[in-house]
Amino acid sequence: MENDSHILELIPAYALDCLERDEAQIVAAHLEECNECQKALSSFLEVSGQLAYAVPQVDPPASVKASLMRRVQAGQQAGPAALPRKSWLEAVQDFFAQLSPVWVIASLAVVGLLVFSNLFLWVQVRELRAEQQTTMAVVGLNATEFAPGSSGTIVISRDGLYGTLVVENLPILDETQQYQLWLIQDGQRTNGGVFSVGYHGYASQEIHSEQPLGSFTSFGITIEPAGGSPQPTGQKVLGGDL
């Protein structure tokens, strides 16, 4: 199609982030539904990535790695939430390895009871959710360290097909950057649209998605080059779960 060939011509510049904002938005929307252009984008992103090898290659001072690893260790020691994320199997093995046989049996009984009660609660939650579908869903978006004081809300229609995003107190970006909403399901991030905020850090816009918004589990907002990115590359400023 003529439109497709026109968009295809813009892909090399999109991969370099040098399109004007309106053109980048058109390309980002087109990429959602065009496999051919997605493949072209992947190849041009690869070219863009390789250009980094053209600069003179210099080792950073050893102090950079030392600082990085100290920062990582400090984060891990900060609290339980930041402890190493062991796999569930390793965590279970570690737990039982520390217990005597009597405690293992008692623990298994408690675990069984918890599983049963969780199943019971799960059924109740499902029933409640089914009842709640007669009302609109509201998702609160919480600020990260990169946008303290900001907040956001997503309101999803009863049928889960339409949504509206409202944000406030987000930092005003320069013209080369925009905020981008990500719709998240099973770790996959789908573009939910790009936007800028006004003088007071406020913005609202409709959310368009081919997939019902109610099927996404989380939402996030990052800072991206104007027009948006095919995947998150910048700092996350807001996030929340459905």
Binding site: E9, P12, A13, A15, L16, D17, C18, L19, E20, S42, S43, F44, L45, E46, V47, S48, G49, Q50, L51, A52, Y53, A54, V55, P56, Q57, V58, D59, P60, P61, S63, V64, K65, S67, L68, M69, R71, V72, Q73, G75, Q76, L83, P84, R85, K86, S87, D174, T176, Q177, G187, Q188, R189, P225, A226, P230, Q231, P232, T233, G234, K236
Partner: protein
């Protein structure tokens, strides 16, 4: 586990499980690339060190969002590095005196000595650098200039056109043709290796 033997995607998965040794191995593999790009864009070692640490810390915190089907790990990392560096460059609004952001000073066979101990990885990096420099050097000078302004300085089509005093359409064609030629030279050549 010897993390240095893992491929990039496996390393990212290990980092997502909060294994500092995996981050350390990824750092050993790519810190040179990340630091070099940041240093070239920013022109100051101190700022480049800050960006390098931020890039790897972001990967530590956000490894789970990496999607292997969309880009290679090195491509993802250079994309983050470039965005961070250009952001910092814009915030400062002043570039170090005498700092050049082109390709001109890169001689195809020039490579500074590294203190890194892995000669195999160093050789692979050096070959990759030479391939990319040779590919860039084969482009017409006007295309090289436009690509450098987009890649290193983050300028848009219209900003490049304004700064070079050229028509917008000419700049768009230069960028598109340059990237298409590079894709042909770099990716097709890779397939034949």
């Amino acid at each position: 586990m010897d993390y240095s033997k893992l491929d990039d995607v496996s390393l990212i998965r290990e980092i997502a499980l909060a294994r500092p040794d995996a981050l350390s191995a990824l750092y050993d593999r790519y810190s040179r690339l990340v630091f070099s790009l940041a240093l070239h864009i920013l022109g100051e070692a101190e700022a480049a060190e800050e960006v390098t640490q931020d890039v790897f810390f972001r990967i530590w915190e956000k490894a789970e969002i990496y999607q292997a089907e969309q880009a290679r790990v090195s491509t993802w990392m250079t994309s983050i590095t470039r965005n961070r560096s250009i952001d910092l460059l814009r915030k400062r609004k002043v570039r170090p005196e005498g700092h050049s952001l082109g390709w001109e000073e890169f001689q195809p066979d020039w490579e500074p000595v590294s203190e890194r101990s892995d000669p195999e990885a160093l050789t692979a990096d050096a070959i990759q650098s030479q391939r990319v420099r040779a590919a860039v050097a084969s482009l017409p000078v006007e295309q090289q200039r436009a690509l450098a302004m987009a890649f290193f300085e983050g300028y848009s089509h219209s900003e490049i056109a304004e700064r070079l005093g050229e028509p917008l359409g000419t700049i768009k064609t230069r960028i598109r043709s340059g990237m298409q030629k590079l894709r042909s030279l770099l990716l097709e050549e890779q397939i034949h290796i």
